[in-house]
Symmetry: C2
Subunit: 278 residues, 2 copies
Amino acid sequence: MWERRYGFPQPARDQFGERVYLPQDIEKLRLLKRLMDRGHRPGKLMGLDVETLARLAAAPLPATDAEAPAANFHEFLRRLKDHDMQGVRNYLAQALMQQGLRTFVHETVAPLNAAIGQGWESGTIEVFEEHLYTEQMQRILRGAIMNLPAYHPVPKILLTTLPGEQHELGLLMAEAVLAVEGAHCVSLGVEMPVPDIVQAALRHGAHVVGLSFSIAFPAAAVAEGLHNLRTTLPPSIALWAGGRGSGHVKRPMAGVQLVPELFTLVELFKAWPGTPAK
Amino acid sequence: MWERRYGFPQPARDQFGERVYLPQDIEKLRLLKRLMDRGHRPGKLMGLDVETLARLAAAPLPATDAEAPAANFHEFLRRLKDHDMQGVRNYLAQALMQQGLRTFVHETVAPLNAAIGQGWESGTIEVFEEHLYTEQMQRILRGAIMNLPAYHPVPKILLTTLPGEQHELGLLMAEAVLAVEGAHCVSLGVEMPVPDIVQAALRHGAHVVGLSFSIAFPAAAVAEGLHNLRTTLPPSIALWAGGRGSGHVKRPMAGVQLVPELFTLVELFKAWPGTPAK
DNA sequence: GTCAAGCCTTTGTCCAGGACATAATCTATG
DNA sequence: CATAGATTATGTCCTGGACAAAGGCTTGAC
């Protein structure tokens, strides 16, 4: 479509008439992707040459005054950039031990995710470094969750994501804060088709189905997926939607509980009938 | 394409002329998918009605006399089908403790994977049950790997899969058997683009890049991906390809070491110059 | 009867050009 | 300066055509 509309890329053709992209075009496309993720629009970028794009990509973000990564994360990011995997592991394990799982999730995992995401957008973090981070963090969280007993039989909470949502860290963070409270969680992993979610919820006798949406998940798909699931799922089973992507839902949906913050998740759990307040 | 060619499915159209599929058509498509995974071809199935398809799908496989799931797995599969997650976890944890990680991988994980795969093909295992299995197994394996020290600095092995290969268990099994030997492994998780693999290998100073392919990964993509990576990666870095899908490569490729079996992986590691034989 | 080589059928994926809903931006008005 | 409406930009769908690659079948040799 871009080729038709903007004249870029203009691939060569192989013997069968199929498009073959030059390496330098692919490099430009990678730059475009990064800039578009930052909010630029394709029409404006397409005409620029690689150098201009690279300069744009290298330029620092307009400093979202929201939150600069806390100073102590610099140490973590340094270890990650140095590929000191043992150091990365130690940092996380130590933070977990010092803070406890609940505080660790809120004050280390969440801000670190934001810092990594920001680094990815600004190009200071490579793809494989982001993967390494995710991999190590998943290990730490899973390890911590595994050691917690589920002493509250209700509500039984089924956790998963819809097809297309591959971001597993959000799910693990939710499971972690719930596990701390002793909640009975069953995680199905990511990308579960709606009919299978329904079937799993019924078979498990789940009281709640919890979905996690990352900010990258298309807004339309969030609404459609939730509506789909809500109409298929028996009304007696609650549906909770969390993660940054759940913010895409502007107006409240009947029978869908939005969970904008991890704190909300804990509150919802504690407010469930039969869950003793601590 | 099927609609054009076979007349099925014949979706209704919404107000914008876009296809809307009836739930019963989707159900038939799910059956078709399952049967095609078993080797049936679409042209033969398309004309049949749902009942016939369901009967076909329910029919047992022609009993691949290769290996019936060992009797003791029945207990595990029963717990999985009963959604007794605590029981599933206990079974795996107990097997791991009894057998040790090396034997656990070879004699429990590998055959269980086969049994689950077979159950999925024959329709006795639901999608969400397969996800649950994968999730629990991943937790066990990651937990076990995390506690092993990497006392051999060389070779440093980078583990990952190519884009499109989402199967993570194979990767974890490889990491587990290597970790038992004290190998220095760095796992990047799944679906890493070739340029990023190269970059990661260089930055980490890896001696080996290990790729895992499941049997479901298209044969052509295995060959293309390996060739691609081999030509981009410096010749000094070895490239190992394992998993059932690596069997798709018929003739040996220069500079690519095929690893048909997990045992081979350990042998390759031990044969690396500088690795002391145990 | 068994096996291999070659032919035919099946099937997936590409191509081109057209259309239009929706999101993003701009403009005019209060 | 804010807001509603107009305009532009952009993604995704549609149709119909083409053909490579894989799979299955037939024929002939031994």
